[in-house]
């Protein structure tokens, strides 16, 4: 190796799943806001009690929605096409992550990780990021963030979306039971979407402050500069 500081961090399948996800989640969020704008209120339970919404707003601005003008039919077309892409990509990622031990080896926190939670939080707050051997692995906060997205938010947003389908509700009535009604499922779907958006914002901030070019390159080419020689 010409430069031993540079390690191969992200295999091709992780990188492609990541960028397919970027496209899917961007379209899903923007078309989702378009769909939400058709009735910009949320409720809890089976039905919409129009006089007592949980939240009611006048709608999201056009720059945040796909299409940009009020156009529910087209918003649904975008949403369902990329929802299938998101699900297919998620299945592709999960199967390979399990088969190759990525989940167990790289994402499941170790005992050592657990003991370092406090330290890791302090380091993050000081915007000090691991270098050298430490930078060869995800840190414990990264692991928790990624696992929450992969194992909680993504499955939850998909099932909450499916629970809004009257066709599926007939056969799988447990979908309604899990969420406490179709309108609750719609609200959970919305909360998950904004939790994912919050994750993406923090994720992008971390990318920015921990070396934007190095991070970006490693997610495109796989190669990451750990900042110190190793081995």
């Amino acid at each position: 190796m010409a430069n031993p500081r540079v390690i191969y961090r992200h295999p091709l399948w992780v990188r492609s799943a990541h960028w397919v996800n970027v496209i899917c989640m961007t379209v899903l969020l923007m078309s989702g806001l378009q769909i939400f704008n058709a009735h910009p209120a949320l409720y809890w339970g089976d039905v919409s009690d129009f006089d007592n919404p949980l939240v009611a707003i006048s709608g999201f601005p056009g720059w945040a929605t796909l299409p940009g003008s009020q156009w529910l039919a087209m918003g649904r077309r975008w949403h369902f096409f990329f929802a299938w892409g998101f699900v297919a990509n998620g299945i592709f990622y999960t199967l390979i992550a399990i088969a190759r031990g990525h989940l167990r080896r790289d994402l499941a926190p170790s005992l050592k990780d657990m003991r370092q939670i406090g330290y890791s939080i302090r380091q993050h707050l000081r915007l000090r990021f691991p270098k050298g051997v430490e930078a060869m692995h995800y840190n414990v906060l990264q692991k928790f963030a990624y696992l929450t997205v992969i194992c909680v938010l993504c499955p939850l947003i998909i099932f909450a979306g499916l629970a809004m389908s009257p066709q599926l509700d007939a056969t799988y009535s447990s979908l309604l039971w899990i969420f406490g009604g179709r309108q609750s499922a719609r609200t959970v779907h919305f909360i998950c979407a904004f939790s994912l958006l919050a994750f993406v914002i923090v994720h992008l901030l971390m990318v920015l402050v921990s070396g934007v070019w190095n991070n970006f390159r490693s997610m495109i080419t796989g190669w990451y500069d750990i900042g110190e020689h190793h081995g």
Binding site: V27, G68, W84, L168, A170
Partner: protein
């Protein structure tokens, strides 16, 4: 050498970033959504949703039914609430005594039925949830003739695939009246009824008097109101703009199971 490689990579990344930016801008000004090729590709998802939903669901599973206590006090009316058509208005003034449901197309015994005749046929009462494509839901109690029983009465031809509903409500300035279609799986489902009662009263005009469709496993726009005639067809490519319904011709999915 290394600098060159780096430059190449930077150039590539800049282009990727630029493409994503362009895509988002294009999305914002609706250009992509108006491109017929893009629309055709996106439409592929509807066939996938329909195929998968049919494959993983039971043909006979019933939509959840609710209790009297759960009926919505304020059931929002979807679509038209007061048809302007003069012929419809004169029928309504007379309490629909002169209204007859015409059933024809690919059937052995075409005919027409008065409201009284329909009420004598096998009926079903159900308290179900109505899901509007806009996102809201309401619960209502419906009573009506089972569509399957009506179809058995007229005898569908083997080549009949879809049930078309032609309605009295005018949807645009050129006078297009509402039309919708469902397939035979939907038509013969136990909860698919032509409702003439809502919440124990005669179906109100706002909700589609004298007769509306209830297909409890699809979204609200499938459930045609103010039904004047029913036609069994092999395909609907010659009707309206050929997508099977008024809203379908405006770009909504024919398959409204989600």
């Amino acid at each position: 050498m290394a600098d060159l490689a780096k430059l190449g990579r930077r150039g590539f990344l800049t282009r990727v970033g630029g493409s994503i930016g362009t895509l988002m801008l294009a999305g914002c000004d609706d250009r992509l959504s108006e491109n017929p090729d893009v629309v055709r590709i996106l439409d592929g998802a509807e066939a996938v949703s329909r195929f998968v939903q049919k494959a993983v669901t039971s043909k006979t599973a019933l939509a959840r039914e609710y209790t009297e206590a759960e009926i919505s006090r304020d059931f929002r009316a979807n679509g038209t609430t007061e048809p302007s058509d003069p012929d419809y208005q004169s029928l309504a003034r007379n309490g629909f005594a002169d209204w007859r449901l015409v059933v024809g197309g690919l059937v052995v015994r075409p005919g027409s039925f008065s409201l009284a005749e329909l009420k004598e046929m096998p009926s079903r009462m159900q308290i179900t949830r109505h899901d509007c494509v806009e996102g809201w839901s309401c619960i209502g109690k419906w009573k009506g003739v089972r569509l399957g029983a009506l179809l058995d009465r007229v005898g569908p031809h083997p080549e009949a695939r879809y049930i078309m509903f032609f309605c009295a409500d005018v949807m645009d300035l050129s006078g297009t009246k509402y039309y919708e279609s469902i397939d035979l799986d939907g038509a013969y489902h136990a909860q698919t009824i032509l409702a003439y009662e809502m919440n124990d009263l005669a179906l109100p005009i706002a909700h589609g008097a004298p007769l509306r469709l209830r297909d409890e496993r699809q979204l609200g726009y499938k459930m045609a109101k103010y039904i004047m005639s029913i036609e069994l067809v092999a395909d609907f490519t010659q009707i309206g703009n050929g997508s099977g319904g008024y809203w379908e011709d405006q770009g909504y999915e024919w398959w409204a199971g989600i």
